[in-house]
Amino acid sequence: EADIYQTPRYLVIGTGKKITLECSQTMGHDKMYWYQQDPGMELHLIHYSYGVNSTEKGDLSSESTVSRIRTEHFPLTLESARPSHTSQYLCASSEGHWTADTQYFGPGTRLTVL
């Protein structure tokens, strides 16, 4: 198992609430990623970071935002949650020295917005 952590594992909240999903890794990896996965379905990249103070949007449009102030930490924030945000969110990291690097995933956060 890779040393990448996500909290909370499960979150049920009401519409309009602000939430932050935490992701941290202890491997010193430069690159980090957020994927969205609907139940039993493929993953879609929503955000990635190549290092501190670097963030980019992925292929799937998302209303969430991310920050990368420290190498080990890559939180995702939803300012006003809606039922359409209900999904599983997976964080990943890779060394980033070359494009054949393996991405290692955290356990995921399953978000339900009522």
């Binding site: 990249l45 393996t102 290692y104 955290g106 399953r110």
Partner: protein, 118 residues
């Protein structure tokens, strides 16, 4: 653009029988290919990857995959299936010819649910 197809939503196999989970890809150049497994309510676990060299790649838990350039395939195989292999399997591709910000992105297939029947 890079893409991955997993033609089977579900594969059923009897315990002890060989298993195959299929994957085909499309990239501009020579691909980097990955297999991941996902157990219920868990993240993805890395199984193996193909970068270059020997077309047969061996990975974790007795899995292996064969890269076939002419058929643009990267099928996952195991000689003898275990009930504990039952999970969701994802194939992913990265195009090393991508430049800039896209060069590290993985494109995943839709996943194949493997059920191993006792």
């Amino acid at each position: 653009a890079q893409s991955v197809a997993q033609p089977e939503d579900q594969v059923n196999v009897a315990e002890g029988n060989p298993l195959t989970v299929k994957c085909t890809y499309s990239v501009s150049g020579n691909p980097y290919l990955f297999w991941y497994v996902q157990y219920p309510n868990r993240g993805l676990q890395f199984l193996l990857k193909y970068i270059t060299g020997d077309n047969l790649v061996k990975g974790s838990y007795g899995f292996e995959a064969e890269f076939n350039k002419s058929q643009t395939s990267f099928h996952l195989k195991k000689p003898s299936a275990l009930v504990s292999d039952s999970a969701l399997y994802f194939c992913a591709v990265r195009d090393p010819l991508s430049v800039g910000a896209g060069s590290y992105q993985l494109t995943f297939g839709k996943g194949t649910k493997l059920s191993v029947i006792p």
